[in-house]
């Protein structure tokens, strides 16, 4: 419940900040109406602490005994001809990297949760990225991801071993799986975290909301495990320590065939032709509307060839048909975090920026000195991308 106490001085500061227009000033006192969602924005701005959201007493659930940080190991299909049909999706290593830091802070163990039909020595890689332990469930029914089967297995493991924290990649698989698990365990889950930390023994989860317009810090104080999904390419990858092997703990979990209620009939994996995938690229040369023509994009491709990068495109450029949608960077495209992001003729709409702002070095070329892209760039060049690109190619070729 939300209450306005007698302390209210009618200063009106809370009225405009309410995201839901739920506060009115009546007789010089803030009055909160039924549109209130208890988001707490008003509490933060009240200069006299007159607004209070009364939290009911903490859940009486017993949280003792929940220990350790778990990371869900996501497997992906390998290319035809590879030795094993599966390999570990890179986001798993990012999760282990941050999980290691969290576990160290808590003084607890970091465990990887591996569900597979056949373990291919994955514990070595998992260990080198920091896992102390691998809980391994090996079962023929785990040959491919299935929501019901995977969530059932994880729920069973969580009941058995009581982790304090559990992390998933915010991939399609992770985002399909985690809410099922959270729902069953009646535990808090925070999606798409961009930062994780330990605060007073709790997992402090930071994430963007309202289309990236605002950040929120989320806690799940009264439930365990505290669960989060983390977007790929957001967490720094730790240097692997080769030779550090995780202790494998085999778990026996009964998986009934009848659990497979949704069956896969067909699977098409889009194979990128000509080069690496954009989300894994080290260098991205990206173009926007300012490139004007398909020929302009050909120049960017040439640049990529010289620098060893992948071509990206803004939504504007994709909408104009200058580049295929699979190259689109941004909220409605792919989130990337290369070492170098070269932006040519991209003005920098919010929708684009949220998809590339975690790149290490951003160099932007744009005609308009006030283009928002310069707010996130480390280096800004005011000039015509159309002219500069060919000259840069020339210069690089000379080398």
């Amino acid at each position: 419940m939300i209450n306005v106490s007698k302390k209210c001085i009618g200063c009106n500061k809370c009225v405009p900040v309410c995201p839901f227009a739920a506060i009115q000033l009546i007789d010089r006192k803030a009055v909160i109406n039924e549109a209130c969602t208890l988001c707490g924005a008003c509490v933060q701005v009240c200069p006299v602490q007159a607004i209070e959201i009364a939290r009911e007493e903490a859940s009486t659930r017993d949280l003792t005994g929940h220990k350790g940080v778990w990371v869900f190991v996501e497997l992906m299909q390998t290319q035809a001809g590879d030795k094993h049909p599966h390999k570990i999706r890179p986001v798993t290593f990012e999760l282990l990297s941050i999980g290691r830091r969290l576990a160290d802070e808590l003084g607890e163990e970091l465990s990887a949760i591996l569900l597979t039909d056949k373990n291919a020595g994955f514990e070595k890689e998992l260990g080198s990225y920091g896992a102390d332990k691998v809980y391994l469930v090996e079962n023929p029914e785990l040959y491919e991801y299935n929501t019901d089967i995977f969530s059932t297995a994880i729920i069973a493991l969580a009941h058995r071993h009581k982790p304090a924290i559990m992390l998933y990649g915010a991939t399609i698989m992770g985002r399909d799986l985690a809410p099922r698990v959270a729902s069953s365990l009646y535990t808090g889950l925070t999606a798409d975290c961009t930062a994780l930390a330990i605060k007073d023994g709790l997992l402090l989860q930071s994430r963007p909301a309202f289309g990236g317009n605002i950040m929120a810090d989320i806690l799940s104080p009264n439930s365990r495990p505290q669960m989060a999904t983390v977007r790929p390419n957001v967490m720094k990858l730790a240097e692997p320590i080769y030779g550090k092997v995780a202790l494998t703990v085999r778990e026996d979990i009964k998986i009934d065939k009848s659990l497979r209620r949704v069956k896969v009939l067909e699977r098409e994996l889009s194979r990128e032709t000509g080069g690496a995938k954009i989300e894994e690229a080290r260098i991205i040369v990206s173009g926007g509307r300012g490139m004007k023509t398909k020929a302009g994009f050909k120049q960017l491709e040439e640049l990529c060839r010289l620098l060893g990068g992948v071509v990206g495109a803004s939504r504007g450029a994709v909408d104009m048909g200058l580049k295929e949608k699979s190259h689109q960077v941004g909220q409605s495209g792919t989130t990337v975090s290369p070492k170098l992001y070269l932006a040519f003729g991209i003005s920098g709409a919010v929708q684009h920026i949220v998809g590339m702002k975690s790149s290490d070095v951003i160099v932007a070329v744009n005609k308009d000195p006030n283009a928002p892209i310069f707010n996130v760039a480390k280096y800004g060049v005011v000039g015509d991308a159309h002219e500069i690109a060919p000259k840069l190619i020339e210069a690089l070729k000379k080398k």
Binding site: N12, V15, P369
Partner: protein, 546 residues
């Protein structure tokens, strides 16, 4: 018809906006504007029952419409004006053409024609204006003569010429005002009737997407059932009866197109860097070219809404109120558009940016449905009677109300509104004592003062409400600051110009100087700059650069 619930209305507005976003781009409008071309496909979609069906707003539910009220129609007109005033006019002409039927038609006529308009998506035109008959219809020359059959009246033969008829060249159905033996009367004329020939599309200054044409009627025969109301001589009354309402629609046009211009300027001003900062941060720019217009448009909005709600509540006529709304909103919109060009500088003067077209378009709103000067006269006439009837108490009473409001809420400009009203009452009384209304210039000026003072108090009252209407896009602080700014300006204008006007037309101003209370009016200007700073900042926040 009372207005519908806010949710239904806003769903309709959202659909209209979504349609426009997808189908009516700036480039499209620009091309049609240059080609002077009526966008028939757009209008067809707008009438299509499965796409929008805008014309159904004017048709009661029992005849297959959706029964829109005045508030609904004001909101739709405002939204249409944001899109393009030519397209808006094409829709409006159907509304207007349908009006005489709604007001004066017999039950059978309504059933027949409103059902056809709804079902067959008929585009309608309202044909009153002639070469010698505009706001003043005394010289109406189009005639409707009796056609007898076996000694009984069978129909009418209509002969004459109409001019500047919106939808004139493209409508399916025309409501034509003609002089019958019993006096001016409305007739329903179908496009395919013999002897009826629409003229060519005019080459206009603005609203070039609206088809405007003359009509030639050469002995057009219509059966007697096509005489609206089936009684001759009621035409002028039927026309008058809807003025409160139709003028509100044009007011909404001024409001919508005017705001579109202001929004364009506000967005532009945040991107244009001059002398080290964006124009939007420079008082010399915002407080001259932007803020005053936003304030005047919101004052007009408050007045339009008040009048719309009264009409929806069952009040009739409200001719004076409709005239104040139209006069104020269209003049404010026109000035806003003019300054929007200035605000965009050289860019504003080119066709690459939409403001110069808005300026050309919006001028018509100060002309059609009664020119601004006719409005000044109508407003003066309406309120002069009240002044005389109440022995000068009419505005003094409202001023008392404002003083009481000021005690309850000192933030809504009610004090200044009260000062404006008292000054107005004093000026009117001095005009009465000195018989100055024999000068037409005095009466027209009084019309302007009245419009200012009435908007000031209506805006103050609206800004003091606990919950603002759905159309207000600003928070309490911003809207109250706007109300204060408007009321101060109104008080200053009347207190300064009123005595000057009286003195200009007479030998002395008597006790008028002290009665207008200039000292207080000046004192009330305190805080003006801070309020304008606040409004400038809120405008920037509300209309972010895209």
């Amino acid at each position: 018809m009372p207005s519908m619930d806010a949710i239904s209305r806003n769903l309709m507005l959202d659909s209209l906006k979504a349609y426009a976003r997808k189908n009516i781009s700036h480039d499209f409008v620009r091309e049609k504007d240059q080609a002077n071309e009526f966008p028939a496909g757009i209008l067809k979609d707008m009438y299509d029952h499965s796409i929008l069906g805008v014309h159904l707003l004017m048709v009661p539910e029992e005849y297959g419409g959706v029964s829109g009220g005045t508030y609904d129609i004001y909101r739709i007109c405002e939204t249409l004006a944001h899109i393009d005033l030519g397209i808006a006019t094409a829709v409006f002409a159907t509304f207007l053409g349908t009006d005489p039927l709604n007001v004066g038609g017999t039950e059978d006529q309504k059933k027949k024609w409103l059902q056809r308009i709804a079902k067959e998506n008929l585009m309608v035109a309202y044909a009153a204006t002639e070469a010698d008959a505009g706001s003043d219809l005394v010289n109406l020359r189009t005639r409707a003569e009796h056609v007898l059959k076996n000694g009984a009246l069978a129909g009418y033969r209509i002969t004459g010429n109409k001019q500047w008829i919106s939808n004139g060249g493209v409508a399916d159905l025309y409501t034509v005002l003609a002089l019958a033996p019993g006096g001016p009367s409305w007739f329903l004329v179908e496009r395919n009737m013999e002897g009826f020939v629409p003229g060519k599309h005019e080459d206009k200054h603005g609203i070039r997407l609206s088809n405007t044409a003359g009509l030639s009627l050469d002995g057009v025969y219509v059966p007697k059932e096509n005489l609206i109301g089936e009684v001759e001589g009621r035409g002028l009354l039927q026309a008058q009866a809807v003025f409160g309402y139709t003028r509100l629609m044009v007011a909404a046009f001024g409001l919508g197109a005017g705001w579109e211009a202001v929004e364009q300027a506000v967005r532009y001003s945040q991107q244009r860097i001059q002398a080290g900062g964006p124009l939007s941060d420079k008082q010399g720019y915002t407080h001259k070219l932007i803020v005053p217009h936003a304030v005047r448009l919101e004052a007009a909005r408050a007045y339009i809404e008040e009048t719309a709600n009264r009409l929806d509540g069952g009040e009739h006529g409200l001719q004076t109120e409709g005239s104040i709304a139209k006069y104020s909103a269209t003049e404010a919109g026109n000035r806003a558009a003019e300054d929007a060009i200035q605000a965009l500088g050289g860019y504003g003067y080119t066709r690459d940016f939409p403001v110069e077209k808005i300026k050309r378009d919006i001028k018509i709103t100060c002309i059609y449905e009664g020119t601004s000067e006719i409005m000044e006269m109508t407003i003066y006439r309406g309120r002069w009677q009240e002044h005389l009837k109440t022995r000068g108490r009419y505005y003094a009473d409202i001023a008392d109300r404002m003083d009481a409001l000021h005690d309850r809420n000192p933030n809504v400009g009610a004090r200044s509104a009260g000062l404006a009203l008292r000054a107005l009452a004093a000026v009117m009384e001095e005009c009465r004592l000195q018989k100055l209304t024999r000068h037409q210039t005095v009466t027209f000026k009084l019309g302007r003062f009245i419009a200012l003072a009435e908007q000031a108090y209506v805006f103050s009252e609206a800004a003091a409400k606990e919950k603002y209407s759905e159309s207000v896009r600003f928070d309490v602080q911003a809207w109250q600051a706007m109300a204060r700014i408007f009321a101060r300006d109104a008080a200053l204008a009347i207190a300064a110009e009123g005595p000057a006007m009286v003195l200009g037309a007479s030998d002395g101003a008597g006790g008028l100087y002290s009665a207008v209370n200039m000292e207080e009016v000046q004192a009330a200007q305190k805080g003006m700059t801070a309020d304008m700073d606040l409004v400038a900042a809120k405008l920037k926040q509300t209309f972010k650069a895209k």
